[in-house]
C-alpha cells in the first residue's frame, strides 16, 4: 500500500462521490460546484498517470472555462420556483436500471480483459508537451486533426453567437 495507491484511492473516492452529488443534489448551483470538485479529482488522476500536461490543461480548461460557463448559464436561467420541484423525471428508475446494468457489463468485460493486470508504467518523460506538439504539427502525424479542431471551434463559436445573441428585432 505505497503512497501512490493511497493517493489514487483518495482521488478516485472524491471524484466518484462528487460525481454522485452532481447528479443527485437539488439546487443547480450546488451541482455546478460539485462538478468543479469532480473535475479537480480527475486532474489528480491525470497526474498519477504521468500526464502532467493534461492535468494542468484539465484544471485550466474545464475548471477555468466550462465550469464558469455552466455557472453563467445556471445564473441566466434561474427561477425561484423550479428549485423546489422534483429534480428527477418520471423515468428515473429506468435510467438508474440502465446505468447500473451498463456498470455490471463493463465490470465483466474488464475482468477478463488481458491487459488489465499491466502495471509497468514506462518512463514518465515520454509524455511531455513537446512530444505532443511535434505530433500535432508534423504532416505525417496529426496535422489534419489539428486544423479540423480549429474549424470545429470556429463553427461552434459562430453558431452559438447566432443563437444566443439577443437580436434587436422581433424575438418571440
Amino acid at each position: 500500500m505505497n503512497a501512490a495507491q493511497v493517493i489514487f484511492i483518495l482521488a478516485a473516492a472524491i471524484t466518484l462521490f462528487s460525481a454522485l452529488m452532481v447528479v443527485s443534489v437539488r439546487r443547480m448551483m450546488h451541482a455546478a460546484l460539485w462538478l468543479i470538485v469532480t473535475l479537480l479529482g480527475v486532474a489528480v488522476l491525470f497526474v498519477l498517470l504521468q500526464a502532467g500536461f493534461f492535468a494542468v490543461v484539465q484544471v485550466l480548461f474545464y475548471v477555468g472555462a466550462i465550469a464558469i460557463l455552466i455557472i453563467f448559464a445556471v445564473m441566466l436561467t434561474r427561477q425561484v420556483m423550479s428549485e423546489k420541484a422534483p429534480q428527477l423525471n418520471r423515468g428515473w428508475v429506468a435510467g438508474l436500471g440502465v446505468s447500473a446494468g451498463l456498470m455490471v457489463i463493463l465490470a465483466l468485460v474488464l475482468r477478463n480483459f488481458p491487459g488489465s493486470t499491466a502495471t509497468a508504467v514506462a518512463d514518465p518523460s515520454a509524455g511531455n508537451a513537446v512530444a505532443l506538439g511535434l505530433a500535432f504539427s508534423d504532416p505525417s502525424g496529426f496535422a489534419i486533426p489539428f486544423e479540423v479542431a480549429s474549424i470545429l471551434l470556429v463553427a461552434a463559436l459562430i453558431g452559438t453567437i447566432y443563437i444566443a445573441l439577443e437580436r434587436k428585432g422581433g424575438e418571440q
Binding site: G52, I68, F72, M75
Partner: protein, 407 residues
C-alpha cells in the same frame, strides 16, 4: 560547493545527512525537507505581504504629496503589523441565509490561488520550489481557480449586489485571460519549453528586448487580472458598493486584502521571470544567492510601476475595459505571436540580426497599433461632430433627430 557559494544547497544537504544520520529513511526525510521548505516559503510569502502593504502605502503617499504611515515605529514600519493585530480580533458577522461552505471557502481559496503560484517560481539557480515541466500553464490554471473563488464568495454571501459584482468581475477576468494566455506563447516559443525554470535559464538576453509588444500586453492584462489601478472597476467604491466582498467582515475581508496585495506582487515576479530574465544578472551563476537579489530588484521595479499606474490613472468604464481587452490587446497579442513565430523561424541563428529584426518587427507592430488607435479616435470624433454642419452646431434632441440650430 561550500557554504559561501550556495548556502541554500549546502543547508539542504546538511539537513538531509542529519536526518538520515538519525535513522529516518531517505524517502521520508526528503518528504520532511519538502514539507519544511514549502511551509517556510508559504509563511515567508504571507509575512512578505506586510512589508508590501507598508511599501505601497508609503509610495502612494509620496505620489500624493503626503507622508504615508509614519506614526508607529520608524517611518511607520510597524503600522501594517498593528493593522493586522487589530483585524485579527474583529468580529465575524455572518449575515442570514448565507450558503456557509462557499461563503467561507471564498476568501481561503482566493489567498490559496495566489500563494500556489509561489511554488513554481524559480528564485535562484538552485532554489526552485517545484521544477515542473508545465509550470507556465500551471500558473495560468491557478489564476483560473482565483475566478472560482470570486464566484464562490459572490454566490455565498446571498446578496444581490455581491452576486452582480462577482459576475461583472468574472466577466472582466475572463476577457483579460485571453490576451494574457496568448501573450504567454511568446516566451514559451523563444525558450522552447513550458517550464519557468528553463525560460529563465534561456534568457541570457531578457525577452523584453526580443518581444516588447508581448511584454506590454502581459503587463497590462496581469494588472487587469489582479483588478487594480485602471482596471479596478470590480471593487470600486463608486460602483457596486464593495464588489463581491460586501458581506465579509473581520479577517475574512482582511484575506481578500492580503490576496489582492500578494497577487499584485506575484504578477510582478512573473513579469520579471518571463520577460526580465528572473535571477539572471552579473555573477548570478557563481553565487546563486546573488540571483535572488537581482530577481527581487526587478520585481520591485515592476511593482513600483504598478503602484505608479494605480495612483495616477482614472478608472476605466466597464465597456471601455472590455473594448480594450477584445479589440486592442487580443489582436495585438495574436499579431505578436504570428510575427515572432515567423521571424524567429526565418532567422534561426541566434545573434544581432535575429534580435534586431525581432525588435524592429515589434516596434513596427506597436506603431501600427498606435496609428489604428488614432485613426479610430478621429473617426469617432468626426461621427459626433460632422464637418458638414460647420456653420451651426447640430443638436440631437430627445427623439434622436438632428435639429440644425439657427445660423
Amino acid at each position: 560547493m561550500d557554504f559561501w557559494t550556495d548556502p541554500y544547497l549546502f543547508l539542504v544537504n546538511w539537513l538531509q545527512e542529519l536526518l538520515v544520520g538519525w535513522g529516518v529513511p531517505a524517502a521520508t526525510s526528503a518528504f520532511l525537507l519538502m514539507l519544511t521548505g514549502a511551509f517556510i516559503l508559504a509563511m515567508g510569502a504571507m509575512l512578505f505581504v506586510l512589508g508590501l502593504i507598508w511599501f505601497e502605502r508609503k509610495i502612494a503617499g509620496r505620489f500624493q504629496d503626503r507622508f504615508g504611515p509614519n506614526r508607529i515605529g520608524p517611518w511607520g514600519i510597524i503600522q501594517p503589523l498593528a493593522d493586522m493585530l487589530k483585524i485579527f480580533t474583529k468580529e465575524h458577522i455572518t449575515p442570514d441565509g448565507v450558503d456557509l461552505v462557499p461563503y467561507n471557502l471564498g476568501p481561503v481559496l482566493s489567498v490559496a490561488a495566489v500563494l500556489a503560484v509561489w511554488a513554481v517560481l524559480p528564485f535562484t539557480l538552485s532554489l526552485v520550489g517545484a521544477d515542473l515541466d508545465v509550470s507556465v500553464l500551471y500558473v495560468v490554471a491557478i489564476g483560473g481557480l482565483g475566478e472560482i473563488a470570486v464566484v464562490l464568495s459572490g454566490w455565498g454571501s446571498n446578496n444581490k449586489y455581491a452576486l452582480l459584482a462577482a459576475f461583472r468581475s468574472v466577466a472582466q477576468l475572463l476577457s483579460y485571460e485571453v490576451p494574457l494566455v496568448i501573450a504567454l506563447l511568446v516566451p514559451v516559443m523563444l525558450s522552447g519549453s513550458l517550464s519557468l525554470n528553463d525560460i529563465v535559464r534561456g534568457q541570457t538576453l531578457p525577452y523584453v528586448i526580443l518581444a516588447p509588444v508581448a511584454a506590454f500586453v502581459f503587463f497590462l492584462t496581469s494588472i487587469a487580472e489582479v483588478g487594480r489601478s485602471p482596471f479596478d472597476l470590480t471593487e470600486a467604491e463608486s460602483e457596486l458598493v464593495a464588489g463581491f466582498n460586501i458581506e465579509y467582515s473581520g479577517l475574512k475581508f482582511g484575506m481578500f486584502y492580503v490576496a489582492d496585495f500578494l497577487h499584485a506582487f506575484t504578477i510582478s515576479l512573473l513579469f520579471a521571470v518571463l520577460f526580465l530574465g528572473g535571477w539572471q544578472g552579473p555573477y548570478a551563476v557563481q553565487y546563486p544567492m546573488l540571483g535572488l537579489l537581482w530577481f527581487f530588484l526587478k520585481a520591485g521595479v515592476v511593482y513600483f510601476i504598478g503602484v505608479w499606474m494605480r495612483v495616477s490613472f482614472p478608472r476605466f468604464r466597464i465597456d471601455q475595459m472590455m473594448a480594450i481587452s477584445w479589440k486592442l490587446l487580443t489582436p495585438l497579442a495574436i499579431a505578436a505571436v504570428i510575427l515572432t513565430a515567423l521571424i524567429a523561424k526565418l532567422i534561426p541563428t541566434d545573434g544581432i540580426l535575429r534580435t534586431g529584426s525581432l525588435l524592429a518587427a515589434n516596434l513596427l507592430l506597436a506603431g501600427c497599433a498606435m496609428l489604428a488607435l488614432i485613426l479610430n479616435r478621429k473617426k469617432k470624433i468626426l461621427k459626433e461632430f460632422p464637418l458638414s454642419a460647420a456653420s451651426g452646431f447640430s443638436v440631437k434632441d430627445v427623439t434622436g433627430k438632428t435639429q440644425r440650430s439657427a445660423q
